[in-house]
């Protein structure tokens, strides 16, 4: 890949950050532009990044979904990189706009960087664990998936490759990939909840209204 990918990592494990600095430093098409322990610290650095690797649970007790939403609002693509695969977290961060969800456990550097490259290219890779959590979504406010989308998701969620999934369903690989992409888009389309007053700010920023009103006084009409 000719383009240099600007990567940032947000994780509160200093050991992991050290290891990633060394690892990413040896990868030709990656440029580690920033590391931070919290999302707020990262945003304060004003570093430019195309993709952010985000740890799920940070020590500032920030909400994972709010962190993803804040980064998406700042214009970066987010890959959640976590030891957790709780369905609740996977669903929340997917709805908040995370491009991919990768488990720290058992994912080697090569696999992780492939995910980062695909996300940087505008792709939407999905791990089996990510698909599994989406396939087990039994919430009442889950997005509506077509029967075919559900079939693709359930089959892919068991660890089958995209090719095997496509063969079993008598569809092409690209059709299966499109279904997975569409599923993620449906989640992101419904994932703009307002559960807390801080969410108003996030939604506001995502709609690009926040930038205009940041400097206004409280008395000025918005």
């Amino acid at each position: 890949m000719d383009t240099l990918i600007r990567l940032a990592i947000i994780d509160d494990e200093e050991l992991l950050l050290d290891a990633m600095r060394i690892t990413v430093g040896q990868i030709a098409d990656m440029d580690l532009t920033a590391t931070a322990a919290t999302v707020r610290a990262y945003l304060d650095t004003e570093a430019a990044a195309d993709v952010v690797l985000l740890d799920l649970n940070l020590r500032d007790y920030s909400k994972p979904a709010a962190n993803v939403a804040a980064l998406v609002a700042a214009g970066v693509k987010v890959v959640v990189f976590s030891v957790h695969a709780d369905h609740e977290h996977v669903l929340a961060t997917t709805e908040a706009g995370a491009c991919a969800y990768v488990l720290k456990s058992g994912t080697n550097t090569t696999e992780l960087m492939e995910v980062v490259r695909e996300v940087a290219r505008g792709g939407s890779p999905m791990t089996a664990e990510h698909a599994f959590s989406l396939s087990r979504d039994n919430r009442s406010r889950r997005p509506h998936l077509s029967p075919r989308e559900r079939e693709v998701l359930h089959m892919y969620a068991t660890g089958r490759t995209l090719q095997t999934t496509a063969r079993r369903l008598n569809i092409s690989d690209s059709t299966a990939r499109t279904h997975l992409q569409r599923i993620k888009e449906k989640y992101q389309a419904v994932g703009r909840p307002i559960n807390h007053r801080t969410d108003y700010t996030l939604r506001h920023q995502e709609d690009n209204f926040g930038q205009e009103t940041m400097g206004s006084t409280p008395d000025e009409p918005v």
Partner: protein
Amino acid sequence: MAVSVAEPGARDRVERWLLRSVALLRVAQYGSSAPAVAVIAVTAHTAASATVVASYLLGLTWSAWMFAGLLRHDRVPTWVAAMDVLVICAVQTALPLALGADRTVWVDWTYGPAIGATVLVLVSLGRGSWWLAALPIVSWAAIPFIGRTPAPRWPDLVGGVVGMIAFAALAAFAARSFRRFAKTVPRPPIDSALSTLQMIAGGGLDLRADDVRRRCQQDADSLRGLLMSERGDPFSDLTVALTEVVRDRSLLGLRVHPLFDTLPPDVPDNVAAAFVAAAREALTNAAHHARVEEAWFTAVGTPEKGVSVTIVDRGKGSAPDSAVVDAIAATMTKIGGHSVVDSVPGEGTTVELTWTP
């Protein structure tokens, strides 16, 4: 089934608590009738009143003796619960027969204890004994029809029966809920992870050694599988058993990705044992024949309260040994389940195991 769901104390505590609750319920049921029976004993010196008081004391004595024994041994033998039903039904039949049409001193003290007998059966013997649990209710409903009595007051009768059924159902539901939330701690994966951490902390392990890293990975995968399956409910025995299978196979060098979710809590032992055996065969096949380093192990509950387990490897996809396929099929057929093996060259092998109650 050799499942090491440990901390049996949690379940024992819940059973003890349920038994004490049923005993307290019986105390309240006899206690609520005690003033009326006492008034009759003091004010009405007739054979009929003596019969009512004597029957009350008989029921009270039986209940006191029974619960004293049950609480001492912390368990309810089937014959004791059946005897409790028999006693209340006998009283509900004999008392109106003895009183005949003379029911001016009638104090229906049996209503509460009849519910108590029903609850004891449902809580201790389970829903399979519903017919035994129904006897005290039927017996109470038959009281107006025993002896020469005026026509029964239907609204009272129907209301009383509905009340008994509703109370018994509520008690059975509460007992089931308490049992489900009896937290059990799956010891094997936790003990293994603790032991690994302890060895690392002791400095006796080379953290860069492949076998140490593999062991750490196995522990992490086991714990993640357990955590993934937990949605606020306690871990089911089947979850713990399958986690053990995943870990066992990992020791063969196969990296197994666990994908667990909401397995039913009360799978029969033979069904759980069949899943364990079939899953072990499938993973062993993946490790030995598919020549892969990774496999995906999905175990979920189905909407029909059944179980679905899928084992996927992305190996060369040669058809598994027919003996293995036959062994898996035979194991699943024995419990009324199904197995499907799908293997295509270059695409790996998938083994699907399903069972529906």
